[in-house]
Amino acid sequence: MGEYETPEMDDYAKTPELAPCSMAHSQPFIAAPNHQEDLGFPGELVDNWQEKAIEKFGELLTKYRSLRVYMDGCVKCGACTDKCHYFLGTGDPKNMPVARQDLMRKVYRRYFTFAGKYFPWLVGAEDLTKEVLDEWYTYFHQCSQCRRCSVYCPYGIDTAEISMAAREIMDHIGQGQKYCNEIIGKVHVLGNNLGLPAKALRATLDDLEEDIFDDIEVEVKLPLDVKGADVLLVTPSADFFAEPHIDGLIGYAKVFHQSNTSWTLSSYASEAANFAMFIGSYDQMKQIAERIRKAAQDLGVKRIVVGECGHAWRVAYNFWNTLAGPFDFLDQSVPSPMHITEFTYKLIEEGKLKLDKSQNDHMTLTFHDSCNVARASRIGDDPGGQFFYPRAVIKAVCNNYIDMAPDTIHEHTYCCGGGGGLLTDDLMELRVKGAKPRMEALNQVTENNGVTHMAAICAICKSQFSKVMPKYGFEMDGVVSVHQLVSNAIVIEPDEVEEDEEEADNNGPSDEQIEEREEA
């Protein structure tokens, strides 16, 4: 890793000069044997790894149409070459999406196509050698699976699909990545990425309840494992301890409180994140998703709401029904899972929340669209709702809001630089450089429009920005949770509290609720 410099900010999205191999040294730590074996992968690189890798590759080609079609379909038009934030931030040509794909495509051609078997020199086919495997490990861990390239490719070629497949192959020959695999292991055992046991979680929530009480002198509850609650909130575990995530969690709690929603967290499924997506493992992803289903069934909730997390929302919105569905035991009159910003905005529209926008007047906000929400899912009923709802919530609770440049938001948004299982210290140089395009767009509105804070709805984005923003000269707390803004603005009067407790009874299900459930 060694020394590196934070890139100078420029006009955003200026295409860099090619700097071949400038990131060839950047690799994440390899997973230790026990972390591999916990997930059923070989502990270390197996002897016949080449044979095994090709075998797995062949299997994936029959299981994933995306991989099959994308291996064949690229015409090398170059449209994607300047779209990846890691290329823009590093200049390493292997970070151009098509070049990243080609690392896998050359092996595909060699082993699975007529042209590559008989005329490898003509089509650039190559054997899967140790050097090639090493390149895979390097550059498929420089892809945050943000899918920006896929928006611009005339065939929709999604490099995320390819890096997921590459990581899956590497896992199966014993060359997994430490950060992701260690975390997935923790979820299987303890239910969350942090490895936080139920008791510790309850203690954390108790502390938070106290903090809220000290702040507003109203008892706002953070219920855990309440059977018969209406809403199960599934949120990234970072919301329980990290800044500014935790302020978002307080925001959700206040929203539930003021709207008299009976809700609960689950200690069994205390994690919305599903890192198995990053390693392309359907099987692991399914096991993690099934925890949510089980928690929802055991608690007998009516609906599921998902907190601020990008890839988790992708998994929840797009994959849960496939992986762990059908969710026919939930209330079918509202969509589940529902995103917390949609949940909150609907309450705002119904006039159920009392808001004082001026509480956020010390800030001028902008919003960072997180890749997995922007390009890989939807919020609400209409296409593009993923852009609307978070902004609508922000604008309902803040007076000062301004968007960043149009070609850096919505579906064109730039990744924070830490997504896709790369949010680890061993990839810090990559993370800092990959954040450059977003930092430049932010800098532009900071200088021209006096933006002071950037809101986000993704746990990874928030952690990444808190870490890299200071390197670019921004304040560390320049990134905020959307529900942190809601929390600031929401007005909860101390006298409401008595009524609330009787009506909502957040501490446990009422007899009525239990009866209802039993009848159902």
Partner: protein
């Protein structure tokens, strides 16, 4: 002799083209897409997806978002190619349909535009360092071949005419299995030879982008994962006891 060689060449080329393409399309068709991965915002109905795909195929919408130069050259090339193919229909039908007759003059301009656009695309492969980096030998050769096809075709129009009545007799003879002599015009032989070669390599090359685009899950999926459970056959086998 020459007639026999070219006749057989075209039958073989057609077989490989059709058979190879059918095989590839079948592979794409039977390979499931286990997860919903549409690039969003995506249409929420099948009609919407058809419309999205139509924009993609007829207008190159994504490419337009991406890079105006590539779009311009790419679009002109494909549109011109379509017109040129329409112009060539006259060699395969008798009597020639009126709209094909009407399209004839456009076909000529299209031929010129096609070669120009291909030259533009090839120029980018040298001039833009990013595109140069990703271009392989086969990418250059593909463009060279397409340009050679275009130029040899135009040469017969503008430089040295060939006997197109005889050419038509030859092509119609191929279709009706009643071989007629092929004129031995050098540009014609090059032209036809390269077209046959193009047909042969089609199913083995990046030209598969043509059928591939229709199978791209990021573009052809309906955005309705919560409403409709999407389950691939191999994934269904992983399902544990229902409702557990």
């Amino acid at each position: 002799m020459l007639t026999t060689i070219y006749a057989i060449l075209f039958y073989v080329a057609t077989l490989i083209f059709v058979g190879g393409l059918a095989y590839k399309i079948r592979t794409y068709f039977v390979t499931p897409a286990p997860l919903k991965i549409a690039t969003t915002p995506a249409p929420t109905t099948t009609g919407g997806v058809v419309f999205r795909m139509a924009r993609e195929v007829a207008l190159f919408e994504s490419l337009f978002k991406s890079n105006k130069w590539i779009w311009l050259f790419g679009y002109v090339f494909h549109a011109a190619l379509a017109l040129v193919i329409i112009r060539h229909l006259r060699y395969f039908i008798e009597p020639v349909w009126t709209w094909v007759v009407l399209a004839q003059p456009f076909g000529i301009y299209a031929g010129l535009a096609m070669v120009g656009a291909l030259a533009g695309l090839w120029f980018r492969r040298f001039a833009v360092d990013r595109v140069r980096y990703i271009s392989g030998l086969s990418d250059h050769l593909m463009l060279a071949m397409l340009i050679a096809i275009g130029v040899s075709g135009l040469a017969m129009k503008f430089v040295s005419k060939t006997d197109i009545v005889a050419v038509k007799a030859f092509t119609m003879g191929l279709v009706t299995f009643d071989w007629q002599p092929l004129p031995t015009h050098p540009a014609l032989l090059i032209h036809l030879g390269l077209v046959a070669l193009l047909m042969i390599i089609f199913p083995f090359s990046k030209l598969l982008h043509a059928p591939g685009v229709f199978f791209s899950p990021t573009r052809n999926q309906v955005d309705n994962p919560r409403e409709k459970r999407h389950l691939a056959p191999w994934a269904a086998k992983l399902e544990t006891k229902a409702g557990e």
